[in-house]
Amino acid sequence: MDCSKILELFQSELVVVNVGPKSFANALIRQGYQAVQVDWTPVAGGDKEAQALIELLGM
């Protein structure tokens, strides 16, 4: 596999786009890295979100 883009990542300053709970972005900022937050909402909207996110965090 051509790894040039991965090596470029390894040699660059990390800038993270966080799609999900804000606490993950905050955790990166507290470590001194750049993170920007995407306030994601499901296309279907509303009700499913809370339940599904809870499920997700159950790992």
Partner: protein, 512 residues
């Protein structure tokens, strides 16, 4: 019942779960719920009887704090404290937020990695957007169909990008601890692993010995299954072999599917860098036939990696554990004979059950992978029992115990109330988004448990391990010290803690 409604104030689901936990712990509060007044939230309010017309009339955009409390004053004081803790927890906030990945990338053209934690059914869509925007991905989402996972990883390969996960809980890129990783020192070891706890464990051993990791790449737990074909494991090996900062490569997984194992071993045999491979349950000879160093378990994997640079990890010796066990049984009552393990990490529970059953026989557990003896009632441990508090039945409505230490907390006093319990075995996992003081959080309960045992004329041995590093915000040394000062027997690793617990139980049986 007392309540506050704040229109137009938004907090995400994780924050509301955290706020609910904090509010419930305040004095004078019987039960409480904090969050957005969405449909499901209103159903929960109805279920717990914390509801009225005004709350039902709220919309998805309204933030509500509801509690049954001793008095208005108690409620107000509790809410103040909750807000203070929340503010402290959110001390550093992402300043900007965007509606989509495309908007975020347009505003930040140097963005190079996307961390994705959306419900599994939406993950493929979000990963595609990120990969198409040229971002490497770290995908925490789980319950992603294997077909979706294969699609994501094929697209990533086509574009020459990383797709760590789905179900990737641990990855360290350029020194940053992503998702639930520990903060690690940089060093010559690159790790690719399908087990998050496994990567974190080995990286922590390297850190403690004064070395560190170049990059750690989590593949997600399903990568080495047949339908996914080890796509990310193979990509990770290619990347680490090409990376000049990586001098040694470590691979960690449960035993891969046979066809995938063969493919990975073929690749490993062509790898030009020294490597250590831990594929749990895989024949040693097959690993060694590829010119690779074989590791038996997580501790061994860390140790063998360190040997490559002339260092070694210090684990307790058998003699030290025997001496600790001999000390621990002093003062125990005759009826005390069982161990109860309460784990926040599934991998750790499996490891502990296997380590202990070899010494003390069958152990009840709540995960069929760990033990054939399934615990019928999760609130009632039987004889020797281990419970993984990360399993679904405990996390419905709450985040995983690595983030929300409250999930596991009630176990300590419940197990200690059983006069036949001799040992309570615990793990603690440190990560930047996790509890700021997971050990400190349970110390009061540990003291109360010790007192209960003393009042019965006995003595409970608490045995624990902490996974993390001195670079973690919670600092592993501080966490270990707090536990030790409270009389907890702290071992260097989970495996050693399980060995000690088993030795105590065996010794107790011998002396009666």
């Amino acid at each position: 019942m007392y309540w506050i409604i704040e229109k137009g104030h938004y907090i995400d689901s994780l924050e509301s779960l955290f706020a609910t936990t904090v509010l419930n712990e305040q004095p004078g509060i019987q039960r409480a719920l904090v969050g957005m007044a969405t449909g499901p939230a209103k159903l929960i309010l109805k279920d717990v009887g914390l509801v009225n017309e005004e709350l039902l009339a709220c919309s998805d955009a309204d933030y509500v704090i509801v509690a049954e409390a001793d008095s208005q004053e108690a409620f107000e004081a509790a809410v103040d404290e909750m807000r203070r803790v929340m503010k402290q927890n959110n001390a550093v906030e992402a300043e900007e937020s965007y509606a989509t990945v495309a908007e975020a990338v347009a505003a930040h053209p140097k963005a190079n990695l996307c961390s994705i934690a959306v419900p599994g059914e939406y993950a493929l869509e979000e990963v595609k957007k990120a990969l198409n925007a040229g971002l490497h991905c770290c995908v925490f989402s789980n319950n992603v169909p294997l077909e979706d996972e294969r699609q994501m990883k094929e697209l990533a390969r086509e574009k020459g990008l990383l797709c760590m996960g789905p179900d990737c809980g641990v990855a360290n890129i350029n020194g940053a601890a992503l998702v639930l990783s520990s903060i690690n020192a940089r060093g010559p070891f690159g790790i690719v692993g399908a087990s998050g706890t496994g990567i974190q464990h080995v990286a922590a051993i390297l850190h403690e010995a004064g070395s560190g990791v170049s990059q750690t790449i989590g593949t997600g737990g399903n990568d080495l299954k047949e339908p996914v074909g080890g796509l990310m494991m193979l990509c990770g090996i290619d990347a680490l072999e090409a990376d000049p900062e990586t001098k040694y490569i470590i691979l960690i997984s449960r035993k891969p599917a046979e066809s995938v194992l063969q493919k990975v071993l073929d690749r490993v045999s062509r790898c030009k860098k020294p490597r250590v491979v831990l594929f749990m349950g895989c024949e040693r000879a097959r690993i060694e036939a590829t010119g690779t160093i074989w590791a038996e378990n997580l501790d061994d994997c860390g140790q063998k990696a360190l040997e490559l640079i002339g260092k070694s990890a210090e684990f307790e010796t058998e003699a030290q554990l025997d001496a600790m066990a001999a000390e621990a049984v002093k003062g125990m009552a005759p009826e005390q004979k069982y161990v109860r393990g309460a784990f926040s990490g599934g991998t750790y529970m499996d490891e502990a059950v296997h380590a202990m059953e070899a010494v003390i026989g069958p152990i009840y557990a709540n995960n069929p992978n760990a033990s054939p003896l399934q615990l019928p009632d999760l609130n009632k441990s039987i004889e020797n029992t281990c419970i993984d508090y990360g399993e679904e039945e405990f996390t419905q409505g709450r985040p995983h115990p690595a983030i929300d230490a409250g999930v596991r907390k009630p176990a300590i006093l419940r197990e200690a109330a059983d006069p036949e319990v001799a040992v309570i075995l615990l793990d603690f996992i440190l990560t930047p988004p996790g509890h700021p003081d997971p050990a400190g959080y349970v110390l009061d309960d540990v003291r109360r448990a010790q007192k209960m045992a003393r009042q019965r004329g006995g003595r409970i041995a608490f045995v624990a391990s902490v996974l993390g590093t001195t670079a973690d915000f919670q600092n592993i040394d501080d966490q270990r010290r707090k536990l030790m000062e409270t009389g907890v027997l702290v071992c260097s690793t989970n495996y050693k803690a399980a060995q000690l617990a088993a030795k105590i139980i065996r010794l107790k049986k011998e002396i009666g």
